[in-house]
């Protein structure tokens, strides 16, 4: 039944694209996030549905879309450079077969991020894309949230829609992405036009936000908790009454603390002490290995270069030895081929210093661009552009959450995050068109003092 439902939905979605070509772009985003081909087991899983949507989106744009006023932004150039550079490192990768496997989806994410801003020509398209990102993430997290509430969570135990520990269905990744989606969900509830603000829309948005907050609890991903804390601090900038906000957050924290499972609080307590936790110690050891690796491979080892790592470290366990004594036990751990567990080290190890520099520049420019847009329309914006500052704010918050979460999860090439980048570029391009559309006077308006002087002179 689920199989038929998803097949019918995807078919109808693609068919709707014939009427409005932009819907192909939304269909691709939906397929990339939800992966219905993984959820279903019949027809959809046997055809390259993502590639079909991608080809349809690009072809329809090339054939039928208005391309007037389109400009390539600097960040799209950086994305293009990163794409070419990743292609080159894949050719010389230390593990060519594994590198090709990752390249097969990375190029699509990068090309889509370059292509997306070209299609986001109107305010409604920007909103529609944000809406489909949030709803697609909702497909994964609503169930995750309900299962967590029902007590079905646990480290590596929360069963999401697909029992597949890859892509967005991996615990730490979905926790980070869910928190990234929260500001967008709130923006849609406040400024949406497809679903206009109302109590039903707010109820759904609150449900989505609760699910987002429950993902770190359900997956017991420490990264998620850090992301929630970062978002909570950043939202202080956007709320009207910061003190009320702090009081509400503190009250909610106090109320929810006793309701959290013991396993969650035990796991979160290891955030500050990595030496007692094997998972955290592995990360630190792999990061040290990556720094050493980059010294001899400054241009990176290509995708999946982590396969060659071999790390060893000590973990410390404290055990009661009776009579107020504690016995410290040191355990030597040796591990091989451990993933980076950090986007920064993923870029450094796989793409070297040039790749890391491009990636950092891409994201730092995003944060700065959103800040500029945010400030430009913050005070007395025209009513038709009142949505711009809150959206820039939401996109900036999502990106900073991604950058902080990315320090502990290898999501440097996660397609969802490149969609955020594409959405930011689309917003910047839209604002650029709005600015260019404002007619510039032939002569600069005179200063009031000069005008008064000339009037006085004329009357005299």
């Amino acid at each position: 039944m689920l199989n038929l439902f998803l097949t019918a939905f995807v078919t109808a979605f693609l068919a709707a694209g014939v009427r409005r070509p932009f819907l192909f772009v939304l269909a691709y985003a939906y397929i990339d996030i939800v992966a219905p081909q993984k959820v279903s087991w019949g027809f959809l899983s046997s055809i390259p549905v993502s590639l079909i949507a991608f080809v349809c989106a690009v072809t329809a744009w090339a054939a039928a879309e208005d391309k007037n006023g389109i400009r390539f932004s600097p960040r799209q150039f950086i994305l293009l450079l990163l794409l070419i550079y990743c292609g080159l490192t894949t050719r010389t990768a230390d593990f060519p077969d594994e590198a090709l496997e990752k390249w097969a989806w990375v190029w699509k994410a990068l090309v889509f991020a370059i292509f997306l801003p070209l299609t986001l020509r109107t305010r409604l398209r920007i909103e529609a894309f944000a809406l489909f990102m949030v709803l697609s993430v909702g497909v994964i997290i609503i169930g995750g949230g309900i299962k967590t509430l029902a007590g079905g969570g646990g480290y590596g135990e929360l069963k999401l829609l697909v029992n597949d520990n890859t892509g967005l269905y991996e615990g730490s990744i979905i926790s980070t992405v869910a928190v990234c989606a929260m500001p967008l969900a709130l923006w849609l509830a406040k400024h949406g036009t497809i679903f206009k603000p109302g109590w039903l829309v707010w109820l759904f948005a609150m449900g989505i936000c609760l699910s987002c907050l429950l993902m770190p609890v359900g997956t017991q991903a420490r990264t998620g908790l850090i992301c929630v804390a970062v978002l909570g601090v950043m939202m202080l900038r956007s709320v009207k009454r910061p003190l009320t906000y702090i009081a509400v957050i503190a009250a909610l924290g106090l109320v929810s603390m006793p309701l959290l499972p013991q396993s969650f609080t035990d796991r979160m307590s290891t955030i500050g002490n990595h030496q007692s936790d094997q998972s955290a110690s592995t990360r630190v050891a792999v990061w040290k290995w990556t720094i050493e690796f980059a010294k001899t491979h400054p241009f990176g080892g290509g995708f999946a270069a982590y396969i060659q790592n071999h790390v060893s470290y000590d973990t410390y366990k404290a055990e009661k030895a009776g009579d107020n004594n504690t016995a410290l036990q040191t355990v030597r751990i040796e591990e091989k081929s451990r993933a980076y567990h950090s986007s920064y080290f993923e870029m450094l190890g796989e793409q070297g210093y040039p790749g890391l520099a491009m990636w950092l520049l891409l994201h730092i420019m995003g944060v700065v661009h959103m800040e500029l847009i945010r400030r430009r329309y913050a005070k007395n914006p025209p009513p038709e552009l009142a949505w711009v500052t809150p959206l820039a704010d939401a996109l900036q918050q999502a990106q900073i959450v991604y950058l902080v979460g990315g320090a502990f999860v290898g999501i440097a090439f996660q397609p969802f995050c490149y969609m955020l980048v594409g959405l930011q570029c689309g917003l910047s391009a839209y604002i650029g068109r709005v600015k260019r559309a404002v007619p510039k006077p032939f002569r600069a308006p005179r200063a009031p003092a000069a005008a008064a002087r000339s009037e006085a002179a004329a009357s005299a």
Binding site: A12, A16, T122, A150
Partner: protein
Amino acid sequence: MIDIFTVVVPHVLMAIAIWRLIHNDDLDFDPILPGSADALARLKRGFSARRGDKSREGKPPRA
């Protein structure tokens, strides 16, 4: 049951959104950008002209 709920609710909302987007001209023509309103008007005139031509197929030209 939970999995069906988590699939159905967002998909129904997406279906409604697609339906609304198909019927909203603002998707392709932004009302606040110059040229968009003109382009939309031109497009609508083109459609109505074509429809008018079709409706008069096989009939004698108007005087």
